[in-house]
Structure formats: structure tokens, C-alpha cells
């Protein structure tokens, strides 16, 4: 799974927010994407998942069974190939319970056709089992009800993406709004899946200790461009990164 973008630009009102000559994600297991506020990290994630239309540039995905150009695809088609992202801002389905939300994310679209209306029961055993397993691992206030606080909604957003079993998962600031212990549980879960070869992950974070701890490779984005890439140790000691981001 390798996601590549070349000459990718995005401008709002003639103001260029992203301008990347070339970047590739998914080569290592767990990668980090860091950069100051407003660097264009979220915009880049949106561009890669086709939620935002680029001003120019190509996005290609190598799934192992051939290279696909993502440009002509719609957002749901990108998700079906196995590329999805969690959201920085809280997103959710207000009328779905936590369980339903997870069941929804796990159900492939082909099982949601008109014939499902006449099915004798709604979700197969394995779906119920996976959903319960995942819910038990976290301290939701009401496991059979709705996500209550912002924190629970944020967590649910991440769990939805995990249960959907993507091949490449982009996580936009998973720790923002979550208590530390829950962040750890989530990241450990993610690391385990990556180690099992089930998926590749890119994490956008301002929590640098977390990046250094979990990531195998880090990209540094500033003012819309990738300025440095390397192993955590290299990035940590890089002068450009220090100047532009860590305020040294």
C-alpha cells in the first residue's frame, strides 16, 4: 500500500495552502506527519481522501495489485479501496447509537442494498462480536446508548475507522480531546494492527512525544510544503524542524 502525490497544490482564494512536489505515505508501518498550526496537514489529508478537490496535481495509490489514480474517484470510492481518515473536528451520526455507528462502519455497502430490508436479522454474528469486543475495551458512559461527550464522539470516530479495516488509515490529531490513557489504548491497538501487517497508518499530531514513541518515519510539513522527512531521531535533531516548529 503506497499513497503518492506529485505536484499537488490547493489554493483558497489564490492563496496556496498546500504545494507539494512529491510525497509518499505507507512505505513504513506507522508514519507521522507533523507541522505548525495552519501548515496544511488537514488539507493534505482531505486532498488524499478526495474530500477536498485539488487545484492541481496527481494522487496515486499502489494497492499491490496495480496502481490507481485517485483523482477521478469520489470520496466513497476511495474509502472502498481501503483508504480512510479520522477527523480532526468531531464528526458523528447523532441518531445512531455507539453500537449502530460501529455496525454501520463494519457493514460493506453491498450488504446495505434494498434486499437487506427483508433480511430476517440485521447484523451477522461476527459483526456483533467485533463491535462488542471494541466497545468493551473503552469506558463509554453508556455502552448501549449514544456517545455523550466530545471525547466519546472523537473516540467513536476513530473506532469507526478501525473497525472498517482500511488498508491505509490517516489519523488527524487522534489525541486532541481524548484523555491520555484512552489515547494510549487506541495507539497500542493501532500499533498492533500495523505490526500484524493488517494496515499502514499516518498520524497527524502536535503531541510530539507520541510521534517519537510510535512512528517509524516522520514527515515535516510547513507552509504547505514537505521540508524534511526521516526517522524520528533525524527529525528531532533537524535544524529546519527545530527552527520552524519547536520554537528553538
Amino acid at each position: 500500500m503506497k499513497l503518492e502525490a506529485s505536484n499537488l497544490t490547493k489554493a483558497y482564494h489564490q492563496h496556496e495552502v498546500v504545494n507539494i512536489e512529491h510525497v509518499a505515505f505507507g512505505a513504513k508501518g506507522l508514519e507521522g506527519l507533523i507541522g505548525p498550526n495552519g501548515a496544511g496537514k488537514s488539507t493534505l489529508m482531505g486532498l488524499l481522501t478526495r474530500r477536498i478537490a485539488p487545484t492541481s496535481g496527481d494522487i496515486k495509490l499502489d494497492t499491490g495489485s496495480g496502481v490507481k489514480t485517485l483523482n477521478p474517484l469520489k470520496s466513497h470510492e476511495v474509502a472502498r479501496i481501503g483508504l480512510i481518515k479520522t477527523n480532526q473536528r468531531i464528526q458523528g451520526f447523532d441518531s445512531l447509537t455507539i453500537r449502530d455507528s460501529l455496525r454501520l462502519a463494519m457493514t460493506p455497502p453491498k450488504d446495505e442494498g434494498f434486499m437487506s430490508v427483508f433480511a430476517s436479522h440485521r447484523d451477522p454474528e461476527d459483526v456483533e462480536e467485533r463491535v462488542s469486543q471494541l466497545i468493551e475495551a473503552f469506558p463509554f458512559t453508556d455502552r448501549n446508548g449514544y456517545a455523550r461527550s466530545g471525547g466519546e464522539k472523537k473516540l467513536l470516530d476513530i473506532l469507526r475507522c478501525l473497525i472498517a479495516e482500511p488498508k491505509l488509515l490517516l489519523m488527524d490529531e487522534p489525541t486532541a480531546g481524548l484523555p491520555d490513557d484512552i489515547t494510549r489504548t487506541v495507539m497500542d491497538m493501532v500499533r498492533e494492527k500495523v505490526a500484524d501487517g493488517k494496515m499502514r497508518v499516518v498520524v497527524v499530531e502536535h503531541d510530539l512525544p507520541l510521534i517519537w514513541e510510535y512512528c517509524d518515519y516522520v514527515h515535516f510539513l510547513s507552509e504547505g510544503s514537505i521540508l524534511f522527512e526521516g526517522e524520528p531521531e533525524e527529525v528531532k535533531s533537524n535544524r529546519v524542524v527545530a527552527e520552524k516548529y519547536m520554537g528553538v
Partner: protein, 310 residues
């Protein structure tokens, strides 16, 4: 007696329309304000095919529903991916266009002179209107049953997800645009079918039947009964059409001089009912309060204790 059967038959049609609107708006969030347009296409389509082309009634109704589906399909491509307000305005305009065309294209539709007559099937049976009533009932019960099954199915869950947050649903791989289009076309076609089934009730079709008041009546019924509850549509129709058009108009001992005031009094009551529902039970008579309005505990375990801001 015949008039009562006519009224009850018409009420079934209203219940069917409100049920379809429950699917479109209650489940999927599409504010279709052109109900009368789709219903009218089926009604007049059936009338024209039956009267001018001498088709058997059932063939005429099915063909008219197909025509309605085709029109809904074109409309769905034009407006469904736009904002709710745009859909509302566009469907309202669509219904107005249908009503106008019915008047102006008098070579086909008979214009203001009307189009008729469309007889009941089984013409030689004495109580054919009663049989027809039960036929309508079967159709409407089927609609209610399917929409109840739909609500609790995997498909229904995806519709609710699309209504709540379309972009998020798409990012999880749901073909939101395609699903909306499919459901919209199917439900509009069924509104056309109900229109076709209405033709023998009226027997003689006049453009006045296509006034927007039908759309509003169905909407009021849905809001009163509860747009999110699968029986809300039915209860809403009982509380409006059933109570006023049937009970009061038929049985209330109103002196003849005052009888002409009844329609206005009816609208007044609809209005009062609507205001009261919106004030005291915003989810409708049957509606349960959604998670949005439920009181929340002030603090929660996975709460915002150690919130970090991006």
C-alpha cells in the same frame, strides 16, 4: 355511504403519501415539497393513458408510475446533491410546473374542462368501490410494512447515517449520492402509483386537484404524527384528514349557512395543532425525543478532563 367510502379511500392515499414522505424526509432527510407533483403525474398519466389511449387501467397506472420515476430520476440528478433549501424550492417549483402544464396542454389533458371518465375496475360488480377500498388498503398496508422493515434494516441504518452526516457516511464508503437518488426515484414512483390509484376515485380529473394544498396536508400530517416514527404519518393523517374531512364534515351538525366556513375553520385548526405540536412535542405525537434533546450528565468518564487543543 358512497361518499364515506370515497373519503376513506382518499384517506388511505394520504396515509400512503405521508408514509413515503416519512421515508424521504424522516429517514433520508430529503425535503420533498413537490408531493402533489409526483402524485399528479401518476394521476393524470393514468387518466390520459386510460381515456385517450384506451389502455387497461392497471397498465395505465403502472406506465404512469414509470413515467413519474423517469421524471424523478431527471430531477434527482439536478437537485438532490444541493442544499435542503434548494431541494425544497426546486420540488415546490416542479409541482407548480406540473400543475401549469396540466392546464395549458389541454389537447392532452383536457385543460380546465377536465378529463374523464375513469371507471373502477370490475365494472359489473355493485360494490366495486368497496372492493377498491380494500385494494387500496392492501397497497398502503404493504407500504407501511415495508417502510417499518426498512427502518430497522441495514439499509435503513445507512439512510439515517446519510441524513445525519452525509460527508462522514461517504468517507466510510457509503455511496450517498447514489443511495439518495435510488430511494428518491423509487418513492416518487410510488407517489405516482398512488396518484394512478386515485384516478378511479375521482373519475373525472380537473387541474384543481393538483393544488399545493395536498403537499401541505401531507407535510402537516407527517409533522403532527412524528416524522421519525414509522406510524407517525398514519396518526397524522387520522388527526387531520380523518378528524376534519371525514368526521366533522360528515357528522357534525353544522347549519348550512356556516358549512361554507368549515374549510377555513379546518385550516385554522391545522395551524393551531401545528403550533402546539411544535411548541410541546417537536418530534410529533408519536415521536420520541432524539439523542439531541436528551439531558446529558455534566461529566463523563471519557470526558474532556485532559483536553488537548490542536
Amino acid at each position: 355511504m358512497d361518499y364515506l367510502i370515497f373519503s376513506f379511500s382518499l384517506m388511505l392515499v394520504y396515509i400512503g403519501l405521508a408514509q413515503l414522505l416519512h421515508v424521504q424526509f424522516g429517514l433520508l432527510g430529503i425535503p420533498n415539497f413537490g408531493v402533489v407533483g409526483f402524485w399528479g403525474l401518476g394521476l393524470y398519466g393514468t387518466g390520459v393513458l386510460y381515456v385517450s389511449y384506451s389502455m387497461p387501467l392497471i397498465v395505465a397506472i403502472l406506465l404512469a408510475s414509470l413515467i413519474t420515476a423517469a421524471v424523478a430520476y431527471i430531477l434527482s440528478h439536478l437537485v438532490l446533491q444541493r442544499s435542503g433549501q434548494a431541494i425544497l424550492a426546486a420540488t415546490l417549483a416542479f409541482a407548480a410546473i406540473v400543475a401549469t402544464l396540466i392546464i395549458t396542454e389541454k389537447d392532452i389533458t383536457g385543460g380546465v374542462q377536465g378529463l374523464g371518465t375513469i371507471g373502477f375496475p370490475f365494472a359489473d360488480v355493485a360494490s366495486r368501490n368497496v372492493i377498491y377500498f380494500f385494494l387500496l388498503m392492501v397497497v398502503v398496508v404493504l407500504l407501511i410494512w415495508i417502510s417499518a422493515k426498512l427502518r430497522d434494516s441495514r439499509m435503513g441504518r445507512s439512510l439515517i447515517a446519510i441524513r445525519d452526516n452525509e460527508e462522514l457516511a461517504a468517507s466510510l464508503g457509503k455511496d450517498t449520492a447514489g443511495t439518495k437518488r435510488g430511494v428518491f426515484v423509487l418513492t416518487c414512483a410510488l407517489m405516482g402509483l398512488l396518484g394512478g390509484l386515485t384516478a378511479p376515485l375521482h373519475q373525472f380529473l380537473v387541474p384543481y386537484l393538483l393544488a399545493p394544498s395536498l403537499t401541505f396536508a401531507v407535510w402537516i400530517a407527517l409533522v403532527l404524527g412524528g416524522k421519525g416514527h414509522n406510524l407517525g404519518a398514519m396518526v397524522g393523517v387520522f388527526a387531520t384528514f380523518g378528524l376534519f374531512d371525514i368526521l366533522i364534515e360528515t357528522y357534525a351538525p353544522v347549519p348550512a349557512e356556516q358549512a361554507i366556513l368549515l374549510p377555513n375553520f379546518k385550516l385554522f385548526c391545522y395551524g393551531v395543532l401545528l403550533v402546539m405540536i411544535i411548541m410541546f412535542r417537536p418530534a410529533g405525537m408519536l415521536g420520541v425525543d432524539g439523542p439531541r434533546t436528551r439531558a446529558r450528565p455534566a461529566t463523563t468518564p471519557a470526558g474532556d478532563a485532559s483536553v488537548k487543543e490542536g
